[in-house]
Symmetry: C2
Subunit: 425 residues, 2 copies
């Protein structure tokens, strides 16, 4: 018991030292010009390529431990790195370097009748704590985005990817060193002890924002424990609605892509809604999905259309499968589609397939979600696909950032007021 207490105190001290070092680095980063940050990002990319073999060796060790522990195929796929994925990490950092500097931009400026000149300029958030699960590439993306936006990062990856992430962070810190920036700008929590997360969430004097990037359990823990503001990445219970005025070929290709391109991403469609006016399309849609390897759980109309369809129950409408399963039902036009989505959706990404602009406008206007898509796949919900270079997650909250969180979303602002001696009457 006594020993445990000492260990916890030691861990708290270690974590707070990490936080203080991050705060000091953040102060320096806030003053760093864009070119220096971009040099660091390019040096990081070069180092990742140079140490590709080390990264793959560390990842192989992570993978064999994960297999021994019996991790599922989806998790193993997230954890696995190969030469292509290492190159993608390096390229991602170079793409972040190509983005414009999000800091010290004049967001707006105006003069007041009393002569005061007011400007709103972008500034970094400060220190960002990022808690994520198995994917080691998040280490590079998150570190790179935080640096670009002038923030210090404290990364807490999953224990499964600890070895891989450690080598990746060495590469990131080598890039910082090459640009004469403090290596404390990107740090990792030096233990896989789960208590470290609790300590992190309590460090509201040293951390400005927490970004949880994981499953429900992590999100609930963060919501319950953190007194630090959070940019929340919640589940994506996304819908594709095939309207009565849909182009049938678009509906077919988009539906299969939205569900099956990758089933484990948050922008994957989980529920298919079909307008009652085009129930004739249902057998083909079902057949396409089943041929692509998808289980279909449908309402009465879907079950009647194809005997391979399983019955959907109430819980299906609220489930983010992240798997090759889709819930499907008929609705009475765009109105009922909107109603269904506003009730069951998670405010992430919703798509309508239609050639009718007024139905599309209504869908885009009346649904409360971060991303609304007309005639394209929900799988485009992604910072890189939006042209942001990379993302740290997709925000399902309404405060601060919504949708893909790229480097511009990791900034705050301050007002500069320039006077000539004005006092307030």
């Amino acid at each position: 018991m006594n020993v445990m207490k000492v260990e916890t105190a030691d861990l708290t001290n270690a974590m707070r030292a990490l936080g203080r070092a991050a705060r000091t680095a953040a102060t320096q980063l806030a003053m760093t010009d864009g070119a220096t940050k971009d040099n660091a990002l390019r040096a990081m990319a070069a180092e990742l390529r140079l140490r590709g073999a080390d990264i793959l060796a560390a990842n192989a060790a992570d993978m064999s431990e994960a297999k021994a522990k019996g991790l599922g195929a989806a998790l193993l796929d997230r954890l696995m790195l190969d030469a292509k994925r290492v190159e993608a990490m390096a390229k991602g950092l170079e793409e972040i370097a190509e983005q414009r500097d999000p800091i010290s931009r004049v967001l707006s400026e105006w003069d007041r009748p009393n002569g005061l000149k007011i400007a709103r300029i972008s500034v970094p958030l400060g220190v960002i704590g990022i808690i994520y699960e198995s994917r080691p590439n998040v280490t590079a993306d998150a570190g790179g985005l935080c640096l670009k936006s002038g923030n210090a990062a404290i990364l807490r990856g999953g224990s499964e990817s600890a070895r891989s992430s450690a080598v990746i962070v060495e590469c990131l810190q080598a890039g910082l060193r090459a640009a004469d920036l403090p290596i404390e700008a990107i740090q990792t929590v030096p233990t896989t002890d789960r208590a470290a997360v609790g300590i992190l969430l309590s460090m509201h004097d040293l951390i400005d924002v927490i970004v949880p990037r994981g499953g429900k359990g992590l999100n609930e823990r963060v919501a319950a424990e953190s007194r630090i503001p959070v940019i929340m990445h919640l589940e994506g219970n996304c819908h594709t609605y095939v309207d009565g005025d849909a182009d049938f070929e678009k509906a077919r290709t988009i539906t299969v892509n939205a569900k099956m391109r990758r089933t484990g991403v948050c922008g994957a469609t989980e529920t298919l809604l079909v307008d009652r006016r085009v129930t004739a399309l249902i057998p083909t849609l079902i057949d396409d999905l089943i041929k692509a390897g998808c289980e279909v759980r449908g309402d009465d109309a879907f079950q009647a259309a194809d005997s391979r369809v399983k019955p959907a129950n109430d819980a299906d409408w609220d489930t983010e499968y992240l798997d090759a399963i889709i819930a499907a039902r008929v609705v009475d036009g765009v109105g009922e589609a909107i109603e269904h989505i506003n009730r069951h959706g998670s405010k992430h990404t919703e798509a309508i397939i239609t050639e009718n602009p007024s139905a599309a406008d209504r869908f885009l206007r009346e649904i409360d979600a971060g991303i609304l898509i007309w005639n394209a796949s929900t799988q485009f919900a992604d910072g890189a696909e939006f042209g942001m270079g990379a993302e740290i997650g997709i925000s399902t909250g309404k405060l601060h950032a919504r949708g893909p969180v790229g480097c511009e979303q990791l900034t705050s602002y301050k007002y500069l007021v320039r006077g000539t001696g004005q006092v307030r009457p």
Copy 2:
């Protein structure tokens, strides 16, 4: 005991009914055009003028109860309404109506190489819960700002101002009715029971954002209890720094105004910092302040300059007096001023008085605060003074809104993605 439980359950039910009604109203408000909202705002202003006598009578009852309870002079001043203050409320609503509609604005738009057209458009936050203390005019400002930004408001004012606020809300609801908008767009918590605040903070499915506008106790309670995102209005421990290159007359008038114009506002200066190069100015600065009725608590240099100066202790540098007291010390130039402010300030509003542009630039760049002022009074920290029409508070947080929170800060955004059948490779 049993009775208490029943009461709590009743209160919870009543609060949740309030929340559901607000949610329904918010859905309608989100679709309401700007002209209709502005008509409602002008009708509210007209109703406030029409019912001025009722408001003053209700306020007189609030005031006499507050006096009987022994409330302090500063609180009584905040609570007190007169014809001029009622007119100011009405005028404030008309000024909010004059602002451009913050909703459905295209914030940015761009095309992707694959032909997807992406637009980011402003949307309301949804339902906003506002918890504030004695000032009844907050009722009109907050209700008006929420309406303008398409949000439903649940207002929870201080028990001292309950009668005044009730009549003001009747006026606001009359304005909503005149514009055919649901009166549930602006509701008040129907009890002064403190348990209602706890229930409000727990309604994360029905309320999107909490705005606490009160003292430390309220802020701490909200931080501890709320799982709803918060736009935090914390204390304003603001500084005025007189640089070695200051214009002496500007320094004198600004210092007295920044401290003494109104001592109870969050933008009032609480600490005066003077550059060691201009210690010769200190006796005059002290004399100005004391003549204006201010107590000066100084370091050794200030005490040596004037025998009326009391010694400042460590706690003074961290204190928001909200009173006719100022802490004062000498610093070694702009560098030490920045260091002092970044250690002791509350990230609210900080001012430098100097004719030296590079000292000003450094001060404005290196201090982490919502508002940085050069050669003007910190008392300009105010949404109306910024040209925002009104404000719901001054945010000292970094997420979402920083500085004055006007109607534009009460919005979120969503992405609209328009395609022609694109699927993701």
